[in-house]
């Protein structure tokens, strides 16, 4: 058993999820729902605690545990904790009908399981497994409100395209395996750096990148985002945008040796995403799609940071704090804090139809707390001080400049200047346009409002004291 101790968190979460799934059909009552909610929260907390406990003091680089499945590297653990936090936040902030509570919370927990596996994967198979657990939970969550057509449409689109991308990923893995004969990423890394890569390996990694690019929604694999984001429940959209991508980003860290050979692909991903995402969002009027496009751009910023890499950057020696991955970690936290809140807030506003900018009018008047929170989140997404997104962007671009990339930050910043436009439009509609005759329908419980307010405050607080996030990282 001791040998499998590091797998404990994953086991707790998966088994808890199954347990809740079984509890679900017991009774349709609010009490049960609340009970499940707190149970789930407890499970997430327990998982996080276990995670920290089992990894404590095992901070050697990429130690392989559980037959070389997972890594206990602090950065990855920290990522996993962050993702668990997003799950917990979603559990708190989400609205679900009483009768579906069991499925909902259990799927969220499965999602969390997939994330923490993916985030800590040290093995191609673990990457695949984590990714699929994550994806399959997401299919269900996206199509959760299956009485709505659009929900189904989004679910099937995500399912088909994700399956398509998984196919690429899987085939790429197969090719990599065929070349190197191992599934351990660390071994692959050693082998790949030792010799010149043949075309097959290159193609294999290329196909792997297709799968990664899809999950991250980097241009040109971004096409699914608007529809899927639009049709998912608000909180799920937040998770897709934040921690589902974040898990893939974390999983990609061991692959950063690819920068040697594949940097141009990542460069292109980054540049195209930053430009494309911001361009796409320019004249969109459906709010969730605006944020969907913006998330494409944000992945571009993150990839800019990734280009700086971990140890490969020229000046990294004197700048240990802002290696690319640290900046990425910061950004994932910052972005998650902002986008979760933003999508959740939009979820509360959403009526029957697609939520357009017009629907936002008057919200600032009727529900100032929610509008204020949304303002803060959008502010942060736009990368303006004092919200945390400001330093997130600064760190990423600093890392890139530090690594010798100049054009990419310039492109990114120019792109963000375009992007400012649609963020401003959201703010304009929230606060500066006269309300339509019909009242905007905002349904948020008191708990949810407090959760929102709390995250808004957190976004500002982190923006004022960005060092906190690094301190958190150092704590692992």
């Amino acid at each position: 058993m001791g040998h499998y101790q590091p797998l404990l968190p994953d086991l707790i979460l998966a088994m808890g999820a199954t347990f809740i799934l079984l509890l679900g059909p017991l009774r349709d009552s609010q009490n049960l729902r609340d009970f499940l909610r707190w149970i789930s929260l407890g499970l997430v907390a327990a998982t996080a605690a276990t995670l920290v406990w089992v990894n404590h003091g095992m901070a050697t680089p990429y130690p392989l545990v559980g037959e070389g499945w997972l890594t206990t590297a602090p950065l990855h653990t920290a990522f996993a904790v962050v993702f668990l936090a997003t799950i917990a936040w979603t559990i708190l902030a989400s609205t679900v009908p009483d009768e579906d509570a069991g499925e909902w919370y259990s799927m969220l927990l499965f999602l969390g399981t997939g994330m923490i596996i993916l985030a800590r994967a040290a093995n191609l198979a673990a990457v695949f497994l984590g990714l699929e657990v994550l994806s399959i939970s997401l299919y269900i969550l996206i199509a959760f409100r299956y009485s709505k057509r659009s929900s189904l449409r989004g679910g099937i689109m995500y399912l088909l395209l994700a399956g398509f991308a998984s196919g690429f990923l899987l085939f790429g893995m197969a090719l990599i395996y065929a070349v190197f004969g191992t599934l351990q990423i660390a071994e692959i890394r050693t082998l790949a750096l030792a010799t010149d890569m043949g075309p097959m390996a290159k193609v294999g990694f290329g196909l792997l990148l297709v799968g990664v690019g899809f999950k991250l929604a980097a241009v040109p694999f971004h096409m699914w985002t608007p529809e899927v984001y639009e049709s998912s429940p608000g909180t799920v959209t937040g998770l897709i945008a934040s921690s589902s991508k974040g898990a893939m980003l974390a999983a990609f860290i061991p692959f950063l040796f690819l920068l040697e050979t594949h940097w141009s692909i990542i460069w292109l991903f980054a540049a195209l995403s930053m430009v494309g995402g911001n361009l796409l969002g320019l004249r969109e009027i459906r709010v969730k799609r605006i944020l969907a496009y913006s998330s494409i751009a944000h992945i571009g910023y993150v990839l800019t940071g990734y280009l700086a890499g971990d140890t490969l950057s020229a000046n990294a020696a004197f700048l240990p704090s802002i290696t690319g991955v640290n900046a990425v970690f910061f950004y994932v936290v910052a972005y998650a804090a902002s986008i979760l809140g933003a999508f959740a807030a939009l979820g509360y506003i959403q009526g029957e139809r697609d939520l357009t900018l017009r629907d936002l009018r008057g919200v600032g008047r009727r529900n100032p707390v929610l509008a204020f929170c949304l303002l803060i989140f959008v502010w942060s997404l736009a990368g303006l001080p004092p919200a945390v997104g400001f330093f997130g962007k600064i760190y990423l671009f600093s890392a890139a400049i530090n690594a010798g990339y100049f054009w990419l930050p310039l492109i990114g910043l120019l792109g963000s200047a375009i992007g400012i436009y649609y963020y401003l439009r959201i703010i304009v509609h929230l606060f500066m346009m006269p309300a339509d005759a019909s009242d905007p329908k905002v349904h948020a419980s008191t708990l949810q409002e407090w959760v929102m307010l709390g995250s808004a405050v957190a976004v500002i607080a982190l923006g004022l004291f960005p060092e906190t996030i690094f301190s958190f990282l150092r704590a692992f």
Binding site: F205, G206, V210, M223, L279, L280, R283
Partner: protein
Amino acid sequence: MFYNNGLPALWLIPALPALGALIIFIFASRMPARAAGIIACSAISLSFLWVLNVGTTLVLGNHHHFVEHHWNWIAAGPFQGSASFYFDLVTFAFTFVVAGVGLLIHLYSYSYMKGDAGERRYFGYFNLFAAAMLVLVTAENAFFMFLGWEGVGACSFFLIGHWYQKSENTVAATKAFLVTRLGDIFLLIGLFLTATLVGVSFSQQSAWTQVATSSFIPGFGGLTGPQLILITGICFLLGAAGKSAQVPLQVWLPDAMAGPTPVSALIHAATMVTAGVYLIARFHILFALSPNLMLAVAIVGVLTAFYGATSAFVQTDIKRILAYSTISQIGYMFLGLGVGAWSLAVFHFFTHAFYKALLFMAAGTVIHSLHNEQNIYNMGGLRTKLKGTYLAFLAGAASLAGIPFITAGFYSKDAILWNTLSTKWGSPVIYGIAMLTALMTAIYSFRLIFVVFHGTPRKDIHVHLPDRLLTWPLYILAFFAIVAGFLNLPIVFGVTPIWEHSFARVFGEWQAEPLIHSHAVEWMALLGSGVLALGGAGIAWLLYSPAKAPMPEPAGDIATVENNTPAPYKAVWANFLFHGWKMDGFYNKTFVRGFRITSGVIAWIDRVFVDGIFEAIQAIVRGFHALVIFFQNGRVSRYAMVMLFGAVAIITILLIGSQR
């Protein structure tokens, strides 16, 4: 505070009227309208008393000048101008006129402006003007002088536009301000040159002599000292021309008559317009160092004198006649400056201030009595109805015409004429033109007398008699217009010219000395100009005596002729003169219209092109947006196809791309 080392403080001179203005402005809405006039008059009279105090101390103490330093006002690199005052004889002459004549006009205004809606405003600005003018003439350096220089310009603007609801007044005020400001620009350039070359303090000006001998001065692109002196002088000349309404910047003064008549008397006749004379007199060393410069000043002077006289000849508006005559008389002063007769130019300013202020105020009384009638052809026969005014006006006109031996104008003008003939900078040609102008001056002066005061009334209007405040200042000025000349009797009379003698202290060796020492020639010149003046009066009698028809014949009903009437006369030359040699129209067509068109074009460019650049960028970005959004059509297989292309592109790049 009021006395330093037993000498009277200079700062009080401008400070008193400034204080008056301040009080009036701050409490304007809370004081009765009449109180403003009382405050203003008290302030200026105190100032005048103080000028007398300082002046007598200066003269009796036989001082060259007083300097009073207060604080460093402008201090930037080579540009140093302290808030300091300077008082010498020239200052005394000017302050005496500004405060003294100013006081009389203030008193006159007290009655003249009674019941005007803007009475408080009027007196506030009037006092402010006096303060600014006193700063101008008491400043120790050119930068501080510039404070007053611009201040009087601003006040002139305010007061010309006093009746602001009439658009013409507004236009006239703007014109006056902008044209003088054009001159001021050159003045500023001159000041910068002065500041960098020798420093702006008046006591430093003798350093120009060293500039004149330098062949190389760093920082000016190889210009030599004499060239720089010429440039500086031209700049000053243009600045002076703007302020003093000299050719080619004279066009604003006739229109400036739109203001209330006391304003015309004080600002546009006696004081502000002579600031140019003061400027050049102050910088006389600079000018004297360059013969070309002197010639330029003299030519500007004589041309303007001639211009003013010819234009005054055909005007129908009493104030415009006087305005052109002012232009002409200041031309004489410039002529005096141009021939090196600095003290005589100042002397002519001195006498001119009295008789021209007198003429304006008398004209004002006439206008006032006739209910704002300004067309001389609607007057006539006022000799009996306004007897006192007539006598005063007669004294002023005689002085303006230079009626020999008894008028101040004769002595001051003749001295300039004599210097034009006799000094090293003079020339017979200029002398000839100046003499011709003197003849015309006499003609138009007496034309006024005959048309306005003699004959029978042309229009039957009720004359309401002026009160004492409107007449007594006239008598005082009339007295000075006659006797002020005795301050400088010609040397051929066998007496010492007191004025010239005293001012020699200021102008020293730079004062031009007559090269002709023959008393006979001087007597001839003296008598000649006297004869011209009397002859002019005679000609005027021939042409304009009540028995004769007005000449030249006006085109239509002369009563309707106004300033902007295109062609009141049948004769082309008369119209040409009537419109001030059509220079107004020329400037309007070129500069004013040019400015309007340019600014319109720039605003258009800004709206269309400069903004357009950014609109275009926006359009391009939107175009790209349209391009990429085109693919977002929700069709899964299309999305998959894009992904496939992406995958193919990645593999292609990897297989053929170069490594880092």
